[in-house]
Subunit: 248 residues, 2 copies
Amino acid sequence: MPPRATPHAEPDAVLVSQDVLTRLKGDILDGAFAPGARLRFAELQRLYGAGIGTLREALSHLLPEGLVELDANRGFRVAVISAEDLRDVSALHVEFEQRSIVESVRSGDDAWEAGLVLAFHRLAKIERLSRDERKARSSEWLVAHRDFHRALVAACPSRWLLRLRAQLYDHMERYRLVSQRHRQLGPSKRAEHEAIKDAALARKAELAGDLLAAHLRETTETVLRHAPQFMPAATERGRARQPRSPTA
Amino acid sequence: MPPRATPHAEPDAVLVSQDVLTRLKGDILDGAFAPGARLRFAELQRLYGAGIGTLREALSHLLPEGLVELDANRGFRVAVISAEDLRDVSALHVEFEQRSIVESVRSGDDAWEAGLVLAFHRLAKIERLSRDERKARSSEWLVAHRDFHRALVAACPSRWLLRLRAQLYDHMERYRLVSQRHRQLGPSKRAEHEAIKDAALARKAELAGDLLAAHLRETTETVLRHAPQFMPAATERGRARQPRSPTA
DNA sequence: CAAGCAAGCATCTTCGAAAATCTGCGCGTG
DNA sequence: CACGCGCAGATTTTCGAAGATGCTTGCTTG
């Protein structure tokens, strides 16, 4: 599938580079750019309508996050994925989510509760829909899901824990989305989300942490179970050149 | 102190942007650019001899690492520091170092042992010197110290644990170096380093972890004890404009 | 025919000019 | 005198041309 770039989503992005960064990151996370694919400036320029310098800036931003890789004079590539990396990321991610939510529940105030209720409401509204409809509005679901999980841990007092959690969340999201391209949309996790939310609001920190951890582990298991389908298992180094796309 | 940029240190850096990145990061870590200071392109251009685009690329790289901050149309600033942030970073850093070294000791092979012995030797050679001499060769010590700590954990099988550890190490190093500008150079930690190395080579994973954690906690305590001296405690937002430097 | 070499092409990397934006100052006005 | 307005200078942001590098193809040679 030739990548089709996300349209401008946030007209409020003050900087072009920030807007490009957001869209590019989203397109890498949801697999519009396949893992390992080269990111050529000519194509990116066409897709995002930004200058080369601006694109380089956005890609440089993604470099330390581990979403793209750079080798000298050969340009940027989307970071590769592997079952091993997935297990590594997932183990740390589960742990960070758990620790974040425990601390968040313990120190959350009224504003946190309100934010959580709102985020859950938005997510539940989409998750109540039929599978087909959920699929059609998957990008909405993605944002709502992300916001819900962020709302759960938002009151965690450790900025660094949240920061690292966010990094790992991104990578897990990429694995989920890339794998989803090769299989059916799974069943809704509405009940699980609700249980976590209720535990959090009831201030049962440990319970919320355990539920969240189980929820995440299950997701990882699902992805791993389908891993061979979306990880072509060690194709030869460097990947075959992509067939020339249909052009404009 | 007007910042004086690090001279080209790695002639083997293939990309100008990578070279600039290395030097700029080093200069931020050791406080040549004070926390909160604005990073003006005119000045950076003069200091590093690189074009604006290249500088932007390097700064974009430092953005997700949390070493610089960006607000739209107002440019980049060195990330601010605070005792609260230091405690946050330190707690996670200690934990990550401990976990990394435990796993590293458990799965380290011959090559790891050799690397550790070598790194310790290099570090010890500098730490045996007198205080004055250590001060004179502080940049050498910095590299040796960094390499030693990296060698300790190098065999940890989790790439992500190592990656996050490295991020936190950088931030802790900045706190150490910025605080050191305002006080005497502390006593050598040679004995502690040796004890950690010996425990690691003796495959006493838990012991090595505990020693390392204690070593790091002590360092943080020292820095925190001197915090008021290098953290001017909430100067008014935006800081006074720096006096015009002597110019070229 | 295999290996080595060179030209041509594709692509990346660097750079600073031009446009956009912000900040500070001086002036006029209520 | 306080306040708002608008201009001038300072700074950031964007962009693509020009140079540098790597890859491929086709030719030459042993």
